[in-house]
Symmetry: C2
Subunit: 555 residues, 2 copies
């Protein structure tokens, strides 16, 4: 490592807002060395950040960027340890693993290929499940007449502070058009034209789209001005059917979280104050991040007849009577990628559950002489074919600019679940070394695994499954050790002050919910579906309570 | 058919513009009976358009919509024949086949599930090809600082008349932000931060996104204010590599057009006047629609260093010298869906190439008694399983509200390549009748095809392949019989007046190209890659010409 320290994205968190429009000057700030541990890996010579180009350009006393620094544009040999500064770690990982970058308009995000591949894994799973449960994809325009938002009273109240408005089109001033913050209004406008009789119901659709919410405080993936999501919209003949649908879809999300993302979300119902603007009931999956803050990772709304009454979305029932339809909507967004990062990562960087990892196995060839190289590269190349044919997502890192040690660290930082190391001795023995990302050092290594295709594939597949299971177990233990049962407001305050989640009986008023938020920073994340048996007394009022609620600070 | 005639979408083509913002009043116009042939199909009782609900609501003298009209919301038993009025036919097909609908903001389009499924087929094929050729998906924000568009001179000239601008965000006035009309500017802004040395090249990415161009004259799929597309963007170390990439991608598009969409596009280079704003060279695939107008169905641009110079996108080459990168961009959009409709459709409606048809086989059960129904439905259900397992996209139409005859017409109008009819006698004989969409009536029917799974699957698969081939052949013959070789301006005028494409040697000036456009309405669609041998003389000037150009009227 030279004397030059490069800035981490962490420092870009709170720059002067106007500066954000110009990306280069931002990158001139240097990272204070207290935040930066010494690089422990040989081969990581030279610092190469997002900023080196800018630095070279703007500060002529600095050396020009040299040409031999691939593959990472931004990895400097390590990231801020998660245990030192969670937020700095998060932003470092996003920059170093090349998941995302800031866009030129404040609060926007460029999703880079490695980050986008995680989103594609989410899409692929959910898209199949949506179709299996009877939904069709379609696409609604993103521009919505301003008047639409005003039709549903609570909806306009919830969304108007965050709207982006197009006022000029083709050089002319227009009546203001919304850029969709969500599509319930335009969906209802169209449903009203498509739905006539009970035979047209249920109408069940989904769209993959971008939406815009002009947020003041943004954070990559977690909250951005524009984000990608899917939004499902359905219309039904009865309240019961709509309720069943809303519950079915939150269950799809829950299964995705547990089985694919290895995130042990808590499923429940939102409090009245936290219900979606326009819904009669909102179901949510709440995930505990590594800093123990809650992340709302997906929601499913029973909209009742709120939008159908506002838009006149009616059908003729079997008795010839006109009725308003009952509706749902449900969404998961690129925020989920942030949830995956913040659930599983550790001091060394990202840790990806095998089922959604863009690369499941990284192969690092090791050699010294040209002769060795030949043998190793041949072995590595046939290994890759074998694994690829077995539908394992595998990549070889054969760049010659980096040492094996640097590569080990780099791919661990990128969260790849398994690494295969192949050196000349391994080739001679027809075996390889397999290292787990989730168990670092010797305990996570399997030595002498045969290169024989069926043996190797079986070994790799079972290790990937073990890691998948292990990540979920680890996250579940972490969650469970950080949820505290409380029976008084004081106990809640103490739990929240310790950074934990508090679970306790609750039947108090909306005003008291606001008071808790103001005094502790915690909100009701949900009334969980899983409820303790027996009589309960509200910890706030002492009145009888039907349910426990979970309180936590959240993103 | 009752006395009530419902309006066709065709009539909505040229309504007063301001009316377009409100969809209901539009739908009150009635279709003149001259445009509407008598419904020839029994079972199509009652008229049920996009508009019936509105009619019922707005004109109380009309009968309320009855409840027994599924599956089509808008099919009235037939569409305007293509041979009578091409444009009316196009809009009728889009409405009746439920491909798309107008959005509430003028010029926007709602893509309905059946239309979106065609777009998904396009996406699935191209997405694989893009990855195979080394591109990664990612996502750039759609909001771009206004200043970006001004950096590349010809780019701003080309796009500024069509821009949509966001001027209000979160309740506050903002510096104007573009809603992307295309992403070259923001891509270069980011590339400048990611590209440092020759080792970072080539950088090859793609995004699937919506874009906005505030067009005055719109037409569903073909030209809408907002549309969906993919845009590829690449950066290379040399002009040669960029040129190779631009050619490779136009070839990917060409293969898709021929092999999947059965559209015999002509591949070539755009004239200077028709080159993309900011490119040094634009390649195009030009398709001949059923009315013989040309549709530009996909383009691939060699951008040279125009954007890299404007944005300072540089790399350090192997000799340590700073150089500007060489770039390409290439795109295919939802316009392609319009191209498929207008290439293959006929008087009866849509005709879809099997490889991109959302439904490849529609199964229509036929019965009279409850007893017959049992046997037929059992047979039909196992047929479906057999075909589904063989990866054939199959659907049963078992609604009881429609007669078999109505269903035959309906699914022909929807363009489904094959129909299987199963009646009681077929069940007794353990055989079915298979009818082709592309050959109507008896010549297109295969009688007595065994229900034995392997026999049936083989038969259906080979028929689907035959239809795929036949559609391409038919379109190719049509194209070839409508391209005329011309050797004088008069011959060109005559060909264009006859609605044909004119191909002739061209080396005249941009001004003369403009003159041809003004006098004939035709533009140079491309200088085709396939060129006749030998010396050529420009048909306009008599000067030597290196190439022939193709002139045509276009969408």
């Amino acid at each position: 490592m030279g004397a030059l320290r490069l800035p981490s994205l962490a420092l870009l968190l709170s720059p002067c807002k106007s500066l954000r429009l110009v990306s280069r000057p931002l990158l001139l700030r240097l990272r204070p060395s207290t935040l930066k541990p010494a690089a422990s890996v040989s081969g990581g010579a030279g610092s190469r950040g997002l900023s080196s180009h800018s630095l070279a350009k703007e500060e002529s006393s600095l050396p020009p960027p040299s040409a031999d620094r691939k593959p990472s544009l931004s990895y400097e040999g390590s990231v801020t340890p998660r245990s030192v500064d969670f937020n700095a770690w998060y932003l470092d990982v996003i920059a170093s693993a090349e998941l995302a970058d800031y866009g030129p308009v404040r609060g926007t995000m460029v999703i880079r290929p490695y980050g986008y591949a995680i989103w594609e894994a989410i899409q692929e799973y959910l898209n199949v499940k949506f179709k299996e449960t009877g939904h069709s994809n379609m696409y609604f325009p993103q521009f919505i007449p301003y008047s639409f938002i005003e039709k549903e009273a609570s909806h306009v109240e919830g969304f108007s502070p965050e709207l982006a408005l197009v006022t000029i089109g083709g050089g002319k001033e227009l009546e203001e058009k919304l850029v969709r913050p969500t599509s319930e209004t335009i969906v209802n406008h169209m449903f009203t034209q498509w739905i006539h009789s009970y035979r047209d119901l249920p109408l069940m659709i989904n769209q993959w789209a971008n939406v815009t919410r002009w947020e003041m405080r943004t954070k990559p993936f977690v909250r951005t001005l524009e984000f990608l999501w899917q939004e499902g919209h359905t219309a039904h003949a009865t309240l019961e059917e709509a309720e069943k649908e809303a519950l079915q879809m939150i269950d799809v999300y829950k299964k995705f979280a547990y089985e694919q993302a290895a995130i042990p979300v808590i499923v429940g119902r939102k409090s009245r104050a936290e219900t979606f603007a326009g819904a009669i009931r909102t179901y949510t999956i709440e995930a505990m991040m590594g800093d123990r803050k809650a992340l709302q990772a997906g929601t499913s709304h029973n909209l009742g007849q709120n939008f159908s009454r506002a838009f006149g979305t009616q059908f003729t029932d079997e008795n010839g009577q006109r009725q308003h339809v009952w509706q749902t909507s449900w969404a998961v967004s690129t925020r989920f990628v942030g949830g995956i990062i913040m659930t599983h990562g550790d001091d060394a960087g990202l840790m990806l559950p095998p089922r959604i990892a863009p690369i499941q196995v990284i192969v690092v060839p090791i050699w010294k002489t040209a002769d060795e190289k030949n043998g190793v590269m041949n072995a590595v190349s046939s290994l890759k074919d074998v694994l690829h044919k077995a539908d394992i997502r595998v990549k070889i890192d054969d760049t010659e600019q980096r040492t094996p040690g640097w590569k080990f660290n780099f791919w661990e930082m990128k969260g790849v679940p398994l690494r295969i190391e192949v050196g000349p001795r391994d080739v001679a023995n027809e075996s390889v070394v397999v290292s787990r990302r989730d168990i670092r050092g010797k305990p996570g290594k399997d030595f002498g695994i045969s290169m024989e295709p069926s043996v190797l594939v079986t070994h790799i597949k079972s290790r990937l499954e073990e890691i998948q299971t292990s990540l979920l177990q680890r996250a579940t233990s972490f969650r469970d050790s950080n949820v505290v049962d409380v029976n008084s407001y004081n106990e809640l305050k103490e739990a929240i002050a310790q950074g934990k989640w508090a679970r306790g009986p609750w039947s108090a008023s909306d005003a008291e919910e606001v008071k808790v938020k103001e005094e502790t920073g915690a909100t009701i994340r949900c009334f969980p579906f899983e409820q303790p048996q027996g009589q309960k007394k509200c910890f706030m009022t002492g009145n009888p309570a039907d349910e426990v609620a979970i309180f936590a600070k959240s993103y």
